[in-house]
Chain length 211, copies 2
DNA sequence: GTATTGAGTGAACAGACGTTCACTGAAAGG
DNA sequence: CCTTTCAGTGAACGTCTGTTCACTCAATAC
């Protein structure tokens, strides 16, 4: 089972995982110049430095590879959000506390966010669905979190959901901009800060009854 | 010059324009199943019922065809917006007056909106730029319109621009949803109505000084 | 009535595509 | 130590790709 004593080479599983990672990274890089549906299995294989057939040892198709990338992207994203929400009560200002963390995560995972931004609207149907599902889950979590902290007691639960959706949609748009214009991060962030404030001032003055 | 008397066949220019339209429509239809970067010149030609080479008589590349589609989409969109803004003062409620018109236009031009939604993030760079440019123009027009009607006198001009951007971004998101779930138009619209109201309640209570 | 223009043709090209198959050879299992 | 497993190989297939070129032949121009 074990490889006995000191062995400089990797185990079988380690090598496989290394190739799998290389394939994921290559696909991410190649898709960045167009999109997932426009790249070919052979391009990916060539970039990895492996024969086209080897691809099938790891993924049944480019679409399944795409689903793996969605999974990977959102696993990291959710960890970041968990961190944001756990520390939220400590913030003197929720917006100023949270936005920079999101911006930092986008900066450090630009290619993943770029992938999500593109494939969310242009990817293969199953990939699109997977992304929308993940975003819907996050929206639901934000809604329960808003309800739990009692920040909007005058809201009906339906309206809390709509508010959460409004916020998530806005942050998605902001993330798209951070991806597209990495050099303008400071300005994008400053503008988003003001806009989110405008939006939340609306939240504070909103009453569900005035539908 | 003229074609003399009664002639059942089309003029040369008419035939050319008819083929051009067929190419635009074919590309729009084929890209709907993936995206512009993933379709081929030969697929388009086959769909039109013309030999691949004939494509070049109308467009130098698929990318230029994409730019033509952007142009076409936004020309129609701008006419609709002109109509919305001209009749805005008559509305008892601006939101209830405008949103249904936008929704109707999306319904009647679904393939164009789907194209814009996809290529906005996943299209060839020049196509993406063209779309963002058009959206920026519309945002600027909305800002001057908001400023002109004096609906937000307490706003700095920078904040009017940010508010306009917030509204346009939201409507873009709403349009994406109308495209993706045509069957839920009524619900999407009802939710968007509430969300836009939340947002604008924020606008009314916002003051530029509290940055 | 003759000359020009130009949208559409059809063959040809070199290369890339996805997928199949039988294979190798080192790591892991017993 | 011998056997099994399986990530990666390499050739082969039929099909599709963008682009070139010389061409036809009806509508237009003069």
């Amino acid at each position: 089972m074990a490889e006995g004593l000191a062995d400089a080479s990797e185990s079988r599983a380690e090598r496989k995982e290394r190739t799998r990672r290389a394939i994921l990274d290559a696909a991410l890089a190649l898709a960045a110049d167009s999109n997932l549906a426009a790249i070919s299995l052979r391009q990916v294989a060539k970039q990895v430095g492996v024969v086209p057939t080897a691809f099938y040892r790891h993924f049944g198709s480019l679409e399944l590879l795409g689903l793996a990338l969605v999974d990977e992207s959102f696993r990291s994203l959710r960890l970041m959000l968990l961190d944001v929400w756990r520390h939220a009560p400590e913030y003197r200002d929720f917006i100023d506390g949270s936005l920079p963390i999101v911006a930092q995560h986008v900066r450090e995972n630009r290619s993943h966010y770029a992938f999500i931004a593109r494939e969310r609207t242009a990817g293969p149907p199953r990939v699109r669905e997977a992304i929308h599902h993940e975003i819907a889950l996050i929206t639901r979590e934000l809604a329960t979190d808003v309800a739990r902290t009692g920040a909007a007691e005058q809201y009906s639960s339906e309206d809390i959901a709509l508010l959460a959706d409004l916020i998530v949609s806005f942050v998605v748009t902001m993330a798209e901009r951070l991806v597209e214009h990495p050099d303008s991060e400071a300005q994008t962030l400053a503008e988003a800060r003001t806009q989110l404030r405008m939006l939340l001032v609306g939240a504070l003055n909103w009453q569900s009854r005035e539908a």
